[in-house]
Symmetry: C2
């Protein structure tokens, strides 16, 4: 096998389309690289892979540490490969330095899935801003789909902003929870529950079963109070046990039901188009801002303005107008 | 009285600080004007009023049409003026052309409050973008506070984006609802319930009382499932009847409790600072964007890019990079 540098774009594309995992991995390395030459090559590979992408289902899975995410994804992934599906598991974890080991970084936690020929597991690119991770994950999805993966699972830790990012790139969003909601809920940011297409209450086994069923009823009632989703899908609350392999098949059937509904009513395609357009405008808006705020004079003026705003010497609107007048 | 043009900035400021309603009204007219000379004068008046503002409590009130908002605000406002408070009622209604008459535009709906010397009612500036309305409302708040108003009520219709805007400029956010939640909830956007510091179920009178109490229990249970608010305030669900003047006093006492708590724990001041800084950055970000997107070449390139993205010929990130390279 040639090195990254000696492998041509066409060879990369040909081998990725053949689901050659080693080429897929190296192409993702190019996508993740901060080297401009690598990025240019990645860009060319991506553009040739794009027409072959868009054929998978994309599932986001979130939950606070301790909920059993890794075990769930492993068992769920194995169930899917057992059905003859090719599964890719990616991660969004901008806080990887803090949450170390809580997410895919520690591959040993999905030992069985790692050794499954029909599964492809890739940890989150490390030491990156959320925007950087998001771009790289989106491009990795394209490459995995071109390589023929039918199901893309995006894992994230349910404690921060990253759920919104995951939500912006998946079709279906699954929230894993535990039954003893009181304390545990505190860790879940507001809004995540509303984004969920389904809540799966994990560890529904042994002595937990009763408590889990109670939690299920309670959450189903709470979700019922929210307005209907644009997708016409009514969010479901289910129970499962990843360690005991209970409820996994049912979760996949529920997800299949979601895709049948949304592909039929067109929401699936509409949402993907919407996500792509949003990505375009998000990139533009972020670059405009970072370009503006990086300027030293502007930074100094902002610090000064904030002080004046706090002292009630200027109103924020007029302070902004003044700052915008600074020659960039 | 001199005309707007012949009245000096200092005279405006002096009369506003004396709570001269006619000068206050004319200063708001300057704030709302799109004439650059008017805006410059408004700016000067605002800057001199700023040190005298920030002394009121700001309450946002929302609810779908039909919930009884006008009646509630009238009765609530009269209760406050009865306590010796000066009350200003402002409106945020970017959709006033569509929702015509549903909000303050129709002053006859608050006949009693309009004729109360201690109340000041100002309809939403018409025919404006939400951003424009927001800026004008924020500046109007400053003027009303300088004129000695103790309570600022910002009314909005609970059907769109405007609640987020109202939420960004008030201390306390009250959602008015009716008991028969099923259908009515559909009109309330996701997220509004989460923003609410209290939900008041209106029309709790006569044959409705039982149903209202049931709804109260149900909502209290649902709210309980959400994580604690940053303010340490636990959102309350209460019932009231504006037409029968039931529960109004209790709502004000609850709001007072909120202010006691948040002024003691510092959240009140923290939130106002945060809102002001957000307003600064919001204004900058919006101007950067409108400046960029107004360019014809850029607009054409965006349309072309969206087509290419839909056809899977380019990925959104690289399309954005290409658009950003266009000479502005």
């Amino acid at each position: 096998m040639n090195s990254i540098h000696n492998t041509s774009v066409d060879e990369f594309v040909k081998e990725i389309l053949n689901n050659n995992i080693s080429y897929l991995s190296r192409a993702i390395t190019l996508v993740e690289s901060n080297n401009l030459k690598h990025q240019a090559k990645a860009h060319q590979i991506l553009e040739k892979c794009l027409p072959h992408s868009n054929n998978s289902i994309r599932i986001g899975i979130t939950g606070v540490p301790g909920v059993g995410k890794s075990t769930f994804i492993e068992v769920f992934g194995k169930y899917l490969t057992g059905l003859g599906k090719k599964v890719a598991v990616l991660a969004i974890d901008p806080s990887s330095s803090i949450q170390k080991g809580s997410i895919l970084g520690d591959k040993t936690r999905m030992q069985t899935l790692v050794n499954d020929d029909n599964a492809f597991i890739r940890p989150s690119p490390s030491g990156e801003s959320l925007g950087g991770v998001a771009r790289k994950t989106r491009e990795t999805i394209t490459l995995c789909e071109a390589a023929g993966h039918d199901v893309i699972i995006i894992e994230t830790v349910g404690v921060g902003q990253s759920e919104t990012t995951v939500h912006s790139m998946v079709d279906f969003f699954l929230l894993l929870k535990l039954a003893n909601a009181g304390d545990e809920l505190q860790g879940i940011k507001r809004g995540i529950i509303e984004m969920a297409d389904a809540i799966a209450i994990n560890k529904a086994d042994g002595l937990n079963v009763k408590e889990t069923n109670l939690a299920k009823t309670e959450f189903a009632r709470a979700l019922h109070l929210f307005p209907a989703k644009e997708s016409d899908w009514i969010p479901k609350v289910v129970t499962c046990s990843a360690t005991e392999n209970i409820g996994i098949k049912e979760i996949y059937e529920m997800i299949t039901e979601y895709f049948t509904l949304t592909q039929k009513n067109g929401y699936f395609y509409q949402k993907r188009n919407f996500q792509n357009k949003n990505w375009l405008f998000e990139t533009i808006d972020n670059e405009l801002k970072s370009d503006f705020y990086q300027n030293d004079t502007i930074q100094k003026e902002i610090v000064k303005s904030i002080k004046m705003i706090e002292n009630q010497e200027i109103n924020p609107f007029h302070a902004a107008k003044k700052i915008l007048k600074i020659k960039r």
